[in-house]
């Protein structure tokens, strides 16, 4: 089989498992009136598994609510529409790709890393007064292009993994060498296909190049959160490798050592709780 081009990837995105229709609607409902939003929330409620997972996230200690939320409508009341929407998305996306299609690709380790990055990004966002919902979701989705490539090209992707082991390079370098397309490009295509907001799409596309002009602060947060989670070893992958941290991104966060140690601690705490909900 010849190597896929980015155009091939884009053309095949329809073959990927899709998010539940109601989640797609929620994603594009940014500017809709509140009345429509409550209709959408009702639709989410018809999906019992999705609702249950979302509510368990909403009831996690992260939000410290004194009441136990039992409906999506309540979640919107207490946490707001933005937060609830991001929780629904997190609950939906972690269950939508088939596992075990590509030999050697560890789906569980993939999600452990992604959930870890989501927690680290949220912890950083809180300290830096950036939108925590957006940071969490961007962290969760930063490598979603890998899942797209694994699902579309399971056999060639096994070659990527073998190349990575043999040459001890980063995943992205191995993807370029073997597939010709990397997960950042595939992720950007998927972000567009799934109607992610421009901020989110941009943050995902730039997370390996946060020093680029106009990359934006979200890319900086996700870039550093990614490295932190590799360093914390949260994916528990034998061949784990910490990528190079951009000095520009590191400097932009302007945290001292005491703050960093708190970030590590908070990230590990959140990871324990959130990964239990999302990876049941």
């Amino acid at each position: 089989m010849s190597l896929p081009t980015l155009a091939d990837v884009v053309a095949q995105l329809d073959d990927l498992p899709s998010l539940p229709a109601v989640v797609m609607e929620l994603l594009s409902a940014v500017d809709q009136a509140d009345a429509d939003i409550s209709v959408l929330a009702k639709k989410v409620s018809h999906d019992q598994a999705l609702t249950a997972k979302t509510l368990r996230l909403a009831n996690s200690s992260q939000f410290g609510l004194a009441v136990k939320l039992t409906t999506i409508q309540q979640a919107i009341t207490y946490l707001g529409f933005e937060t609830t929407r991001n929780l629904i998305l997190a609950a939906a996306v972690t269950g939508c790709f088939p596992a075990g299609r590509c030999p050697g690709f560890d789906d569980k380790a993939f999600w452990r890393h992604s959930i870890g990055a989501a927690c680290a990004a949220r912890v950083l966002a809180r300290r830096l007064h950036f939108n925590q919902d957006i940071a969490f979701t961007a962290g969760l989705l930063h490598d979603i292009g890998r899942l797209a490539l694994v699902t579309l090209y399971p056999e060639p992707y096994a070659g990527v993994l073998a190349y990575r082991s043999a040459h001890d390079v980063t995943v992205r370098e191995a993807e370029r060498a073997v597939l010709g397309v990397d997960h950042v490009e595939a992720g950007a295509a998927l972000a567009e296909h799934w109607n992610f907001s421009p901020t989110m799409a941009h943050g995902l596309a730039q997370h390996h190049t946060p020093e680029a002009l106009g990359a934006g602060f979200l890319a900086t947060i996700v870039h550093v959160a990614d490295a932190v989670v590799h360093g914390l070893d949260l994916a528990a992958e034998q061949e784990e490798l910490v990528p190079t941290v951009s000095a520009v991104a590191w400097t932009a966060l302007a945290l001292d050592e005491t703050a960093w140690l708190d970030v590590f601690r908070e990230t590990e705490l959140q990871f324990g709780e959130i990964s239990r909900v999302l990876m049941e």
Partner: protein, 113 residues
């Protein structure tokens, strides 16, 4: 994260060993408190409660030897994780700082402020 406890199968646990964490049954009810010195009677009853393994404090609870082993293992793992980071390459100082802070974190070092 130093690991001062280990999970042992019930039949490997001997009277006199110390429980490192609170022990609950399947319904979440507390069976034994953390720090309990286990007796033969207790172990027999745990069997009836369907408990299969227990978190047990490692030998010599203060165990500086065990701690030293843990620290060495943590440092070795960090060296592997950061194997692409060359400490002498000053252009890569940000990766080096992340490594230093994570080492301090893993070894439980206090920050000098």
């Amino acid at each position: 994260m130093t690991t001062r406890y280990q999970h042992l199968a019930l039949d490997q646990v001997r009277p006199g060993m110390i429980l490192s964490d609170v022990l609950r049954d399947g319904q979440g009810a507390v069976l034994l408190a953390a720090g309990t010195v286990l007796t033969e009677n207790m172990l027999a009853r745990l069997d009836q409660h369907g408990i299969e393994s227990l978190p047990i404090l490692r030998d010599g609870a203060g165990g500086s030897e065990a701690e030293a082993t843990d620290s060495a293992a943590a440092e070795a793992r960090l060296a592997y994780l950061f194997r692409h980071n060359d400490p002498d390459n000053h252009d890569d100082w940000a990766t080096g700082l992340l490594r230093r802070y994570l080492t301090d974190y893993r070894l439980g070092r206090e920050v000098q402020s």
